[in-house]
Symmetry: C2
Subunit: 357 residues, 2 copies
């Protein structure tokens, strides 16, 4: 088993804590370890042969620094010259694995997801590996807990009762009414972006549905007999120069046969914006979630989230606010507008305020 | 003419920028000079004989430091051992002035008021001095611009057309309906806490209506023939040990005869809380008032006030908020709850968090 962690996200929605060089997955947002470090540690008990982290050049140094302490398992950091969505990153990792281990099964995990029950998460991965060993493309479908309109859904042919079951179709983000219908059927799952499959199996499917990417990946040559990726950079640059960005969902999963879904109910959040943190962190007695704060005082306030920059935080007459205090920038945001934090980043880019990006 | 500046206020409503040792009047809230420094500079063109600043022991050092650069006029800093409201502070200053200059007229000014048109302010003071020279107690009544329920009012016998006119009565903070009636008559003014009177005249009235304070003040003795206040501290401590706190309004003004009011319309704010700052500072094009900030980004937001601690401030989906970022404490407050900031200070006192006070 090989773990492939997709870690190149820009995480603009966690600005100002997240910046281009330290996006969400590299942030220590819960205090302590970063989400990337947690993602790596979470899979170590599975004893994978290698952990491969695909990221971009800007984040590579910090990524290497953060995983340097891992010595149970070899960890590779693969640099993409430019982000091209998930299909090229997965294809690249699959090509490398397949070169050295034609029977290798790869587990694809985003670096920036929160998982509550890690034991159950690993059990689900093991089940996925079993199905992948028989040639299936397995996707982890999160059992929905609310009619969320912000995620894509996967419809299963039947309720698998925890076992892998055939996928009927992938569905784009639905309007609320449809999301409620989905929830009622018991056969719809959130598309988590976590996958398990054979390296050769996914390369076959890329060959079938993404011939351009497949041809570019086929040019990769490996001179050494040993697993050593540092010399691959010029070749990767060449591969990426000729391909366009595409997600593995759109490029392969929505078209492929033999796709299965395993219902996953280990407590999951993609922590897509500041407003998602209260889902995965305990609120204090006043109903506020505080990170990196020296306590709080709350007068007629509740439901706020503060990243306090080590300060005492006082709330007076406010509800459902997000406040993030960093050394050079201060964000004040209504929880319902948390998705718009990325607009701040866009505006700063437009103004050329690169120091804040 | 002597200027007496009352500067001992605690200013808890400007927490966390204001602290016990640097209350509102000593803060550089508008950038640049403090409100105390502005208050002193504002009167210098009047060429007063002396400026006397009454403050407390905790703030005396910073007060002296802030006025050290004034060399046009002698400036005295008088330390009260403990705050006892305005009557004792005024009585103390009047006793000192009367000792050296029996005909001295004193202008009493709070240290923490904002005044827009300084030329017109000085014209009003000069008119007040003329009335005071004939023995009147003159109070500056601010021509109201809205039916404010947070101030006390002064009812004049008639519209003085800018000249001093007899006061009919002082009125406590009214409910909205009454405040609207007051506004309609054209004879009601906001009680600003600014007064002009002869030092002996106010001491006479204190003698008539506040015999206890009068008796305590009578014990003050002045050994030197020169104006030198540094040796007065033990005597002041003795005076203050035996008196109770009282405002000059309640203690004298509401009872005295020969009280006059001058309509003042020079643009005034007592800047009583963070929410008053937008009245006296320009908002930017997004409708936010920014102090000590490196610019802002506003997404779907308006009407906020931020003291930015030198940072970039981003507003997303928020309205009418006050955000104050200091090195050790961060305040987030709805404008409508700005009066409750003092409750934060009370709570911090209750918890013994003296570092934040």
């Amino acid at each position: 088993m090989y773990i492939v962690i997709l870690a190149g996200g820009s995480g603009t929605r966690f600005w100002p804590l997240s910046r281009k060089s330290t996006p969400k997955q590299l942030m220590s947002v819960f205090g302590g370890k970063s989400m990337l470090q947690r993602t790596v540690e979470r899979v170590l008990p599975l004893q994978p042969k290698r952990v491969m982290i695909v990221t971009n050049a800007l984040q590579a140094a910090e990524t290497r620094r953060q995983v340097a302490y891992i010595d149970d398992v070899p960890v590779d950091v693969i640099e993409e010259p430019v982000g091209r969505n998930t299909a090229p990153a997965i294809g690249l990792a699959a090509s490398i694995i397949a070169r050295f281990d034609a029977d290798g099964v790869m587990v694809v995990l985003p670096a920036d997801h929160y998982i509550l029950d890690e034991e159950r998460f690993r059990d689900t991965i093991v089940k996925g590996c079993e199905a992948a060993a028989s040639g299936k493309l397995v996707t982890l479908g999160i059992t929905p807990t609310r009619p969320e309109t912000g995620y894509g859904y996967i419809e299963a042919e039947a309720d698998g009762n925890g076992a892998p079951v055939a996928v009927r179709r992938f569905v784009e983000k639905p309007p609320l009414e449809r999301a409620m219908e989905f929830l009622a059927t018991g056969r719809f799952y959130w598309n988590s972006g976590m996958f398990v499959w054979g390296a050769c199996a996914i390369l076959d499917q890329i060959g079938a549905f993404m011939p351009e990417l497949s041809a570019a990946l086929a040019k990769l040559t490996f001179e050494q007999e040993v697993w050593e990726l540092s010399d691959l950079r010029p070749q990767i640059a060449e591969v990426y120069a000729g391909i366009k960005g595409e997600s593995i969902d759109f490029g392969v999963m929505e078209k492929a046969q033999d796709v299965q879904v395993i219902a996953a109910s280990f407590g999951w959040s993609d922590v897509g914006s500041w407003s998602a943190l209260p889902e995965v962190m305990m609120a204090d007695e006043d109903g506020h979630v505080l990170i990196d704060a020296k306590g709080s005082v709350s007068i007629g306030s509740d439901g706020c989230l503060a990243y306090g920059g080590g300060k005492l935080v006082a709330f007076v007459g406010v509800k459902d606010l997000i406040v993030v205090d960093t050394p050079d920038a201060l964000l004040v945001c209504d929880k319902s507008a948390a998705q718009d934090v990325k607009k701040v980043v866009e505006e700063l880019e437009r103004r050329g305020k690169f120091d804040y990006l």
